[in-house]
């Protein structure tokens, strides 16, 4: 073709219809000219970050730095600045009131409210009113009347309250005389969510304890515990302070009995406060130390033996049923195992009787030591059989391919049970340990947190206690090829009381630390 014609006909068709036919022919016969874009790019997608109004106030307008940290605040300037920015920055009042609420600054709060009432062009939003109530309630007994007047304004807007407004209202009303009204607000919570929030109830509990109404406080705490929730640490801190100042009928014993019953552990800060309380007791001299208590159950400071946990056999049977129903069977048997397998397992347990030690073969074999997994298993098994204990090892079918010599030696000394490759082995270990009685040890490095949540609220405390007492906390393989196992003693991790001393555990990172208090 001549040059001019070629230019015309070599141009790609620009009309849509012709392009589509071209594409269709191409696609149909999968020819080599494939028109396709790359479906991904190496750079991640940059989301357009639209800022919150709060973030706008904080970062772009910088209200706190420029205006709110000073002594004399001019609200007119703030208004102008926000109007210039646009409609996104409408509600600067909530931001300012929030700031005052955090810093417990009542005077500025009152000034804000006066300013807003004068300039009726701005409507006072619900949130500022509720925040103001919370501010006044928590600042002192003098500002009671302010609370009531603002509450009347709130009632004009709505009859009914949502979660955030409930929170602030309760905080406000618990600083006044009419604190029982906050119970009415609590009832509105059930319309919004089925679970119970613990942070909302803490001011009520504290106020009830101040006034001496123990039954109310205990009732609320029991409701929380029935769902598996913990109250916030603020409650414990306030109880310690009440015991110090001797207001109300709270002593340190009530706190510690509570912690023991429900198995709630204090934080580091609360532990500090408990320590200071004991140090500040007049008439008695207490010696306070922080320690780690090791597996012996002996306190290294004072040499006291911690008590050993006791379990009810009837509780254990119910735990066994729960394990069967909720962990192995769950919603459908076939997800984690099969009925054939379960039958086989139960027959095996019944014929070969209760065991002293249950070992999780996979967990030991696949830990990171540079040894053969069969060898690792053999070492662990021989440690226990040399002491004359009956051992059960649970593993999966593919473990038959591990080193033959070591597996043969294991079979001579201990019992082996192979679970299917597809199914989970953890619930079987738990069931076997539960079946064999109270004193069986479990050998894993797995924390088994997911199973403790699945078991349900009734027996979760028992489950955690049982695992704390019977699971091996640590084991190590040395360079020379031996195993070192720290055996569990079975002592309880609960506050322990004798005539002369107190031992209180508290949460420290992943584990526990103890406060040793001796007269």
């Amino acid at each position: 073709m001549s040059g001019e014609l070629r230019k015309q006909y070599s141009v790609r068709p620009k009309s849509n219809g012709a392009l589509m036919t071209f594409c269709r022919i191409n696609h149909m016969f999968r020819s080599n000219f494939i028109i396709s874009n790359s479906s991904y790019c190496n750079q991640p997608k940059q989301r357009q970050q639209k800022l919150n109004p709060y973030e706008i106030f904080r970062e772009e307008l910088k209200l706190t730095e420029q205006f709110l940290d000073k002594k004399h605040i001019n609200f007119n300037e703030i208004d102008k600045v926000c109007k210039e920015y646009g409609t996104q920055a409408r509600f600067w009042q909530t931001y300012c009131m929030d700031h005052f609420h955090h810093t417990n600054d009542i005077n500025h709060g009152i000034k804000l409210m006066e300013y807003l009432e004068k300039h009726s062009s701005q409507k006072i939003s619900l949130k500022t009113l509720t925040l103001f109530i919370a501010l006044t309630g928590s600042s002192g007994h003098q500002y009671q009347n302010l609370v009531y007047t603002t509450f009347e304004k709130v009632l004009k807007i709505t009859d009914v309250f949502d979660m955030s407004s409930i929170k602030y209202l309760i905080q406000g009303f618990c600083g006044t005389d009419n604190w029982r009204k906050s119970l009415e607000f609590l009832e509105m919570e059930k319309f919004q969510s089925t679970t119970k929030n613990a942070g909302i109830r803490s001011p009520i509990i504290i106020k009830a304890l101040y006034e001496g109404d123990m039954s109310l406080a205990m009732k609320i705490l029991q409701e929380l515990a029935a769902e598996g929730n913990e109250p916030s640490q603020r409650v414990f801190v306030e109880m310690v302070e009440m015991a110090e100042n001797k207001t109300g009928t709270v002593t340190i014993d009530t706190l510690l009995d509570l912690l023991r019953e429900k198995r709630w552990y204090p934080d580091e800060n609360t532990a500090l406060k408990i320590k200071n309380y004991f140090l500040g007791l007049q008439g008695e001299e207490w010696q306070c130390l922080d320690t780690h208590i090791k597996n012996d159950g002996v306190c290294p400071c004072c040499g006291v033996n911690l008590p050993i946990a006791k379990f009810n056999p009837s509780d254990f049977e119910n735990l066994k049923k729960d394990i069967m129903e909720k962990l192995i069977v769950a919603s459908n048997v076939f997800h984690n195992s099969s009925p054939v397998e379960i039958k086989r397992f139960i027959e095996f347990l019944n014929t070969h009787g209760p065991f002293d030690v249950v070992i999780d073969g996979l967990n030991i074999g696949l830990c990171k030591t540079p040894l053969n997994p069969g060898v690792k298993l053999r070492l662990a098994v021989e440690y226990f059989t040399s002491k004359g204990k009956k051992v059960l090892v649970i593993g999966k079918q593919h473990m038959k391919n591990w080193k033959k010599e070591s597996m043969r030696r294991i079979q001579e000394q201990a019992m082996l049970f192979y679970v299917d490759n597809i199914s989970e082995d953890d619930p079987f270990i738990l069931y076997a340990a539960c079946h064999s009685g109270e004193n069986t040890m479990i050998v894993t490095r797995d924390f088994l947190h997911n199973h403790s949540t699945r078991i349900g609220v009734e027996y979760q405390q028992l489950f955690n206690k049982w695992l704390q007492c019977r699971k091996i906390p640590k084991f190590i393989y040395t360079k020379s090829g031996e195993i070192l196992i720290w055996e569990p003693n079975g002592h309880e991790i609960e506050p322990f009381h004798t005539t002369d001393s107190w031992h209180i555990p508290y949460r420290y990172e992943d584990g526990f630390k103890w406060l040793c208090l001796v007269k």
């Binding site: 696609h27 949502d162 319309f191 969510s193």
Partner: protein
């Protein structure tokens, strides 16, 4: 009101050749057509251009029952085709509420106000009655905020489409004059003008051939009760994508959707809209399960929790894919179902051929389907596994991959330690 059309294929016509339905009648939504073949097997149907809302009856006795109206007595649930589901108006529902529910509504509206002050980018500006009805069903605050975010995204997309339309209008007005002069391609071309109609006919031609002879792909829709409405929408979208990919290929699969719930949402989504009625769509939707339709030894279930891996594509076997989106609750559902029924379970060999970075090894429906398609054409895993999203592999420079955690995993193997 449904019109009933009977069509029987006698043995003679089977031998003589294919024959065609009148597609105009069939394309109307409220017709029922019964196709009888004297064979018992699905594979031996010789039908051409049959739309999806046809009932298949494999035996003559069932046909007679149907014509007498006797099958209506047994189970009214099987009248699947008629779209007579009673859908209440959302405004009607809102008018007839309990006093408790009215209180919750009030509280929810308050909550909506408060949240729109705090987070206006995550909350829609206008709320309709149907939105309130859906919000009433939810009990937790976090789930509600997620729903708000979804509604906001819908609003954003609508707004963008409007803007694009206006932009297009402006650009067309500018360039419309130029097109006529410079590009008379639309009228004088060397390319043949291929209409949508012919494309649809060619698609249906291939799909019916696959119905008769070709490989069958089963989508197991029996997991509808375990999914939330949002996840059901996602599965429908993914199935539509699979169907679209299937149409365009040279040798398509025959889609069989089994285990459908007659009162559920899946069926209605198939029978309404573009992908139910109309030409160019050929697939089967049944109440039955795949055990009744195919012999058991041919079935192979694909699930990500399996032990064995697929090694090559077997054209004689029928592959089953579970139509399931499990974002909220992840249990080994497909594994359990296949174990119960005694079918062989299989997964893709992702570990052999790919270096995995970060990501869930459960793939979406259209990804698995594309992999299967390519596998069937070329028995090569490396080519077919290109449809796995590349952000999950170790080569991607995704910010999640670049973090410290995955690198430490690789380095620890070389460190020497004394104690473990």
């Amino acid at each position: 009101m449904t019109t009933k059309v009977l069509a029987t294929i006698s043995n003679r016509s089977l031998r003589n050749g294919l024959w065609q339905f009148n597609s105009l009648i069939m394309s109307k939504p409220n017709t029922q057509c019964i196709v009888n073949s004297c064979m018992n097997n699905l594979t031996s149907h010789r039908c051409y251009n049959i739309p999806a809302h046809c009932k298949y009856s494999n035996t003559f006795e069932k046909l007679q029952e149907y014509m007498r109206g006797e099958d209506l007595l047994d189970k009214t649930e099987k009248d699947v085709v008629e779209n007579e589901t009673v859908e209440e108006n959302p405004s009607d529902i809102l008018a007839n509420l309990n006093p408790e529910q009215e209180k919750t509504l009030k509280i929810l509206k308050l909550e909506y106000q408060m949240m729109s002050e705090e987070n206006p980018q995550n909350i829609p500006e206008e709320m309709t009655d149907s939105m309130w009805v859906e919000l009433l069903k939810i009990n937790s605050i976090i789930a509600r905020s997620k729903l708000y975010r979804y509604y906001k995204s819908i609003e954003n997309s609508k707004r963008k489409k409007k803007e694009e339309k206006e932009m297009k209008k402006e650009s067309i007005e500018e360039t419309s004059h130029q097109v006529e002069r410079e590009h008379s391609f639309a009228k004088n071309t060397i390319f043949l003008r291929i209409l949508d109609k012919t494309m649809n006919k060619s698609f249906s031609d291939r799909l019916t051939k696959s119905m008769q002879f070709g490989p069958h792909l089963v989508f197991d829709l029996g997991f509808e009760k375990q999914m939330k409405p949002r996840e059901i929408k996602n599965t429908v979208k993914q199935l539509n994508m699979c169907h679209g990919e299937n149409r365009w290929t040279k040798d398509p699969f025959h889609f069989v959707f089994t285990d459908t719930d007659p009162k559920g949402i899946f069926l209605n989504s198939f029978h309404t809209g573009n992908h139910g009625s109309g030409l160019g769509n050929c697939y089967t939707v049944t109440d039955k399960s795949y055990l009744d339709l195919f012999p058991k030894k041919d079935l192979v279930y694909l699930s990500p929790h399996a032990q064995r891996t697929l090694k090559y594509f077997n054209p004689n076997s029928v592959y089953i894919i579970g139509a399931l989106v499990d974002k909220s609750v992840q249990q080994k559902v497909t594994l359990g179902k296949a174990k119960e029924q005694g079918i062989s379970i299989v997964k893709f060999p992702l570990d052999l051929h790919l270096s995995w970075g970060i990501g869930n090894k459960c793939l979406t429906l259209d990804q698995t389907f594309k992999i299967l398609l390519r596998l069937r054409e070329t028995n090569d895993w490396k080519e077919s596994l290109q449809f796995v999203p590349k952000r999950k592999l170790a080569e991607a420079e995704h910010p999640r991959n670049v973090g410290e955690y995955p690198k430490q995993r690789q380095q620890n193997n070389y460190k020497k330690r004394q104690y473990y």
